[in-house]
């Protein structure tokens, strides 16, 4: 006689400490072994794409902050680049360099939060506090720039919302100076830690072939050894002027992705340093009357600027008919904005290609045959933000 054995279906989320928001995963377990893990999404659906379609191009911008709220500047950048492509606006050199600088700061910030939460999922509680402490420096830069710490909306169509603050360079230099030492601290705590290695080595593995087939991007793709980075493959915003490496992993497991993200932080610091050193002088907004908002100083003293300002704010600008797609390398992978225009002052259709959403689809593959604890590790190592997954 044998006892009847049944598989256990466990509902993980949407309220669960380590599903990074409101992700729900239906896990089928055989003891502690995972038979199947299916992500269920939609609990944070806010209709961002649809909302953007009902707004003028300018006014749709703040919606992008709310998607990947850990990397707002990257989202701003992606959207602005797409609109600029549609409107054929050429931004000043200084704006490009400043945007690169801000986007790389955003990458560091996003990776720091990822590191903290991923380590917390694995039980190393202190890391979360450490990374949040260090992230503060970057949030301070944001605050100095646009006045906001989280939903910045600082990068605008055709330029930036304000001139870079006077102490911008000092604040960013501080980041460049202090982050490497902190990274070494993190490495001391985790990289050679036997428990951490055991928890992440050969866990949540995805081969290069599978990674491509699933359409993964960002660290998830590069972790498997595919050297693909939009900053190199399809440079935007002047990335071709910068000298940096694209790190890749070997095995495609969680540990590789951990090392890779740390290396990406180091490379980002290199880019920021170059951007600061070589930042050209110039206006902080392109001069395209009727499309790009004139600088605030001009609005106060010049008649034409005031009129354009009024017209752009009230009725926006007419876009040419057509469709554009602009992808950027956000911290989490390829973030793409597809805008189709019917010639009116509002986008006809906006479709976002969120990296988290596509990467999350690989969860069943990552957790196949692993243990229950590995599900948590896999979710953490994908680096999802539910705001972006559900939009």
């Amino acid at each position: 006689m044998s006892l009847e054995q049944k598989e256990l279906t466990l509902n993980m989320g949407p309220q669960h400490p380590s599903t990074h928001g409101v992700l729900r995963v239906i896990v089928t377990l055989d003891g502690e072994r995972v038979v199947k893990a299916v992500p269920v999404i939609g609990y944070l659906h806010t209709g961002i794409e649809k909302t953007m379609e009902s707004k003028l191009y300018y006014k749709a911008l703040p919606c992008t902050d709310r998607m990947d709220y850990l990397a707002p500047m990257s989202n701003n950048l992606g959207y602005c680049l797409a609109v600029e492509k549609l409107m054929e606006i050429e931004v000043p050199e200084k704006v490009k360099w400043a945007r690169v600088c801000l986007a790389e700061l955003t990458r560091i910030k996003s990776h720091l939060v990822w590191l903290g939460t991923h380590a917390l999922d694995l039980g190393a509680m202190s890391m979360l506090l450490f990374t949040f402490r260090d992230r503060e420096m970057i949030v301070d830069v944001y605050e100095a720039c646009g006045g906001q710490r989280m939903m910045t909306s600082y990068i605008r169509i055709g330029g930036l919302s304000h001139e870079l603050p006077p102490d911008f360079e000092k604040k960013v230099r501080r980041v460049i100076k202090e982050i490497p030492a902190k990274l070494n601290d993190y490495e001391d705590l985790l990289t050679k830690n036997e428990i951490f290695i055991n928890r992440t080595r050969n866990v949540a593995v995805i081969s290069a072939e599978d990674a491509i087939n699933y359409g993964l991007s960002g660290p998830m793709l590069r972790g498997s050894g595919v050297k693909h980075d939009l900053r190199k493959a399809n440079p935007y915003s002047g990335y071709e002027n910068f000298d940096f490496e694209v790190p890749v992993g070997k095995k495609g497991d969680a540990y590789d992705r951990y090392l890779l993200r740390l290396e990406e932080i180091r490379q980002s610091l290199r880019i920021i340093e170059q951007a600061l050193d070589g930042m050209p002088e110039g206006p902080y907004r392109a001069h395209v009357p009727g499309v790009v908002l004139p600088p605030k100083e001009d609005v106060l003293y010049k008649m034409e600027s005031l009129i354009f300002h009024f017209k752009i704010i009230t009725e926006g600008f007419k876009s040419p008919k057509g469709a554009v797609y602009q992808g950027i390398e956000s911290p989490k992978g390829e973030l793409g904005f597809y805008i189709s225009s019917d010639g009116s002052n509002k986008p006809n259709r906006i479709r976002v290609r969120p990296p988290s959403f596509v990467n999350l689809a690989s969860l069943p593959k990552l957790t196949e045959g692993g243990l229950f604890s590995d599900v948590v590790c896999a979710i953490g190592s994908i680096d999802i933000v539910l705001g972006e997954v559900d939009r």
Binding site: L8, S126, I195, F372
Partner: protein, 333 residues
């Protein structure tokens, strides 16, 4: 006869109250130490340095609603916290807490009960505590609790053996099972007051004991049974109010118990110069507690299967080896 009963009762009350007080303030200690490790302040509002925080916590928990979900088995559900709590306190019955002293003309021994098999009693009682966790998980009727209980069971099986074997070395060297005699053997009048501590005769045994003790008390990095990032709160997911705090207190009481046992077996218990003997024991226990908290501030959590591997393939053979080597040395002597 009556005299003896009164003296013993007083000792029991004093020890239990002291242990419970220590439990309360070790939560404060943990919060403070971990906070400073993480560049935070920890509790600061309740009293100076947040010292009244444990009282505030206790009051809050008492006034919380005691929720009992429909799916639980009521009797077991109610019993489990008690089963987990009582053995933790029981351990202190055989831990010598001070040297013999005179109190209002009465000669008082610094131990509640000088059991001649004290060490065995300790290990028997501490193993019982895990049943509280297992029963809590089973009776809760929740999948997360169930998994917590399963993990606790597996962990208990893997670590109990190593835990027991790790102290056999000490027993072989000392040739006694009485905790009181063990402490007395470790005393020394010379300026090197620590020269007779068993930690120097049994370094490997001590390391094994330390590791197993962490697993025994379900503390990080072996906190599989409650692993909050996976199992929400593990075996006590469905518990609330005072029942929850019973588990909470028993976790700390267990930590204190293994600290006291560790201090007694390896660090000479209350033995030490200048300071009163009770303080010496408390100081040594504090070092153990600090070590636990330090671990929690530093290490990630083991995975279930890795933990079993570690228990059976590393700790168990090492403990056996330690026992054999010690036995050989004792025979040669």
């Amino acid at each position: 006869m009556l005299e003896m009963i009164i003296i013993s009762s007083v000792k029991v009350i004093v020890v239990v109250v002291a242990v419970l007080t220590c439990c309360a303030w070790s939560t404060w200690l943990e919060r403070k130490v971990v906070a400073y490790m993480q560049h935070r302040m920890g509790p600061t509002l309740a009293g100076p340095f947040g010292l009244l925080q444990p009282i505030a916590d206790a009051l809050k928990l008492i006034f919380k609603e005691d929720l009992v979900p429909k799916s639980v088995e009521k009797v077991t559900f109610a019993l489990a916290p008690i089963i987990s709590f009582v053995p933790a306190i029981l351990t202190f019955a055989v831990v010598p807490f001070a040297a013999d002293f005179e109190f209002f003309g009465y000669q008082v021994t610094g131990i509640i009960s000088d059991l001649n098999i004290g060490v065995l009693f300790v290990f028997a009682v501490t193993s019982l505590g895990i049943y509280g966790i297992v029963l809590a998980g089973w009776s809760s009727g929740s999948k997360y609790s169930l998994m917590g209980a399963l993990r606790a069971t597996a962990q208990m099986i893997s670590y109990e053996v190593g835990y027991g074997l790790s102290i056999i070395g000490v027993i072989l060297v000392a040739n006694t099972l009485s905790m009181k005699e063990l402490v007395e053997m470790q005393g020394s009048d010379s300026i090197w007051f620590f020269q007779n501590w068993f930690v120097f005769k049994q370094p490997l045994g001590f390391l094994l004991f330390l590791t197993c003790a962490v697993a025994e008390t379900n503390r990080c990095p072996f906190d599989m049974a409650e692993a909050e990032s996976e199992l929400v709160a593990g075996y006590h997911t469905e518990y609330s109010s005072m029942r929850f705090s019973m588990f909470f207190i028993s976790e700390y009481a267990n930590m204190l118990a293994v600290s006291a046992v560790g201090a007694t077996l390896f660090f000479g218990g209350w033995q030490g110069p200048l300071l009163p003997s009770v303080l010496w024991l408390l100081l040594k226990m504090f070092l153990f507690m600090f070590f636990y908290i330090w671990l929690r501030g530093t290490l990630p959590r083991f995975r279930y299967d890795q933990l079993m591997n570690f228990g059976w393939k590393v700790l168990f053979p090492l403990a056996l080896l330690n026992t054999m080597i010690t036995a050989a040395f004792v025979m040669i002597d």
